[in-house]
Symmetry: C2
Subunit: 214 residues, 2 copies
DNA sequence: CATGAACTCAATATAATACTTGATTAGTGA
DNA sequence: TCACTAATCAAGTATTATATTGAGTTCATG
C-alpha cells in the first residue's frame, strides 16, 4: 500500500506533465496557431520559423501530454487541439497579461494602432456603423468565425479593397491579440481612404468566452 | 525597430515565464496549499515535506513570475496567491484530470470512499438531510469557507464527534480533491455510527467557480 | 548588542531540455 | 520498384532546472 505522500507525489507529477508541455515559448506559439485551426507539421514549422525536426519534436511533447491529437491524411499528419485546452490557454494568457502590462505596452509601442473593445464592437455592429473584416487565411475562416464577418485573407486584401464599404468603420480581426495581420490590414485600408481599427482581442478569445460563431 | 518575429518571441517568452512557474510538481502542490490560505515558508515546507531552503527557492520562482506575492510579519514572511491564479489553477487541474483518468482512478483505488457531487450536495443541504463539515485547520476555515459549514479541524475531530448530529448525513470537505483529510474524517465519523461521505471537490474548486463563501 | 528564529543566498553536482545534423520510416504516384 | 514528400528518430552539445549544503540576512527580544 502506498503512503499518502507517495499518492500526492504521483498526483502532482501527473498534473505537472500537462503544465510542462505549456512551459515553452515555441509550444505556446504552436498552441496559439492551433487555436485557430488544425495544421500540418510543415505548416506549423514555417509559421513559427523553425526546422521541421524541431517542430516535430515539440509537437511530440504536446502529444505525449495529450494537449494535441493527430489525424493522418495520406503523407501529411494534422495536429489539432484537444477539447478543453483553448479555455486554459486563454485563461493563462489573461493571467500573463495582467501580471505583465509590458505585453500590452510592447504591442502598443510597436504598432501604435487604435483598437476597439468587445462591447464597443458589439454596439457598432448592431447599429450598422461598422463592418467586421476577418483577414485570416480562408481555411481558418471556414473552420470557425464570428457571425457576420467578411472574409478577405490578408494576402488578397490589397487587390480586393473595393469590396469594402467606404461609409463605415472597418474593424479588422485575426487570430488573437498578438497576430499582426490585423495591423497590416488597418494600414492598407487607411491608405485607401477608409476608416479602420483593429479588434483588440481576436477570434480565439471571443470563441473561448462563448461568443457565438457562425 | 524590431521585426514582427522578434516581437512574437518576446510575447511568447514573457507568456512562458508564467507557465514555467507552474511546470513543477512541488510548485503545483504549493499553489494547491496557497489556494486555501496564505502561509509562511516554514508552514509550506513542512506541508510538502521539503527543506526550508528548497521551499524558499521554489517560492522565489513563483514570486519572480508574479504568481504569488509576499507580506512580512516580523520575522516571518507570508506567501499568498495573486488574484486570478486560482482560476487558472483549477482550470488546469480540470484539464489534467480529463486527460488522465488515472488520477481519478488512483484516488478511488486508494481511498475507496463514496463521494457526493456538487449538485447533490446543494440539494441535500437545502432539504436539511445533510450537514457540511469542514475539517481544515481553523486558520484556513476563517480565511474562507462555504456558507453554513461546520468547522472541526481534523486533529480535534476524534474528541469532538459528539458535536455532530446523528440523524443526518455528514459531508466532509477539505482543501481539494487530493486532500486526504476528508477521507480520514469519513473513516472516523463512520466508526462512530453516523453516515458520512466526502465532498468530491473541495473548498478551492467551489470558490474558484464563484460559489458563495461566508 | 547578543541571541535565536525565519528566511534567503551562493556554490555545487546531477538531471532534464532544446536545437542541430543526418539518418530512417511511411505513404504516394510515376 | 524507384523516386519523392512528409514526418519521425537518434545522437551530440549547450543550456537550464533541481536539490543539497552551508553561509549569510533580517528582525524581535532579552
Amino acid at each position: 500500500m502506498t503512503s499518502a505522500r507517495e499518492f500526492k507525489n504521483e498526483v502532482y507529477s501527473t498534473f505537472a506533465e500537462v503544465t510542462k508541455a505549456l512551459a515553452n515559448p515555441l509550444r505556446l506559439e504552436i498552441l496559439d496557431l492551433l487555436l485557430q485551426s488544425p495544421r500540418s507539421v510543415d505548416a506549423i514549422a514555417s509559421a513559427i520559423g523553425q526546422s521541421t525536426a524541431n517542430t516535430s519534436q515539440h509537437l511530440q511533447v504536446l502529444k505525449r501530454s495529450r494537449v494535441v491529437e493527430t489525424r493522418r491524411f495520406g503523407t501529411t499528419i494534422e495536429y489539432a487541439l484537444v477539447a478543453g485546452v483553448s479555455e486554459v490557454f486563454v485563461a493563462l494568457r489573461r493571467l500573463a497579461e495582467a501580471r505583465h502590462p509590458l505585453l500590452d505596452q510592447a504591442k502598443r509601442d510597436y504598432f501604435g494602432e487604435a483598437s476597439i473593445s468587445r462591447p464597443a464592437l458589439r454596439a457598432a455592429l448592431a447599429s450598422k456603423t461598422a463592418v467586421l473584416l476577418d483577414v485570416r487565411p480562408r481555411l481558418e475562416f471556414e473552420h470557425a468565425h464570428l457571425p457576420g464577418a467578411l472574409s478577405i485573407p490578408i494576402r488578397e486584401l490589397a487587390s480586393r479593397l473595393d469590396e469594402l464599404p467606404d461609409d463605415r468603420l472597418i474593424v479588422a480581426t485575426c487570430r488573437g491579440p498578438y497576430c499582426t495581420y490585423a495591423d497590416e490590414a488597418v494600414h492598407l485600408i487607411r491608405a485607401s481612404g477608409r476608416e479602420a481599427v483593429r479588434f483588440e482581442d481576436g477570434v480565439g478569445e471571443w470563441v473561448a468566452d462563448g461568443g457565438a460563431i457562425a
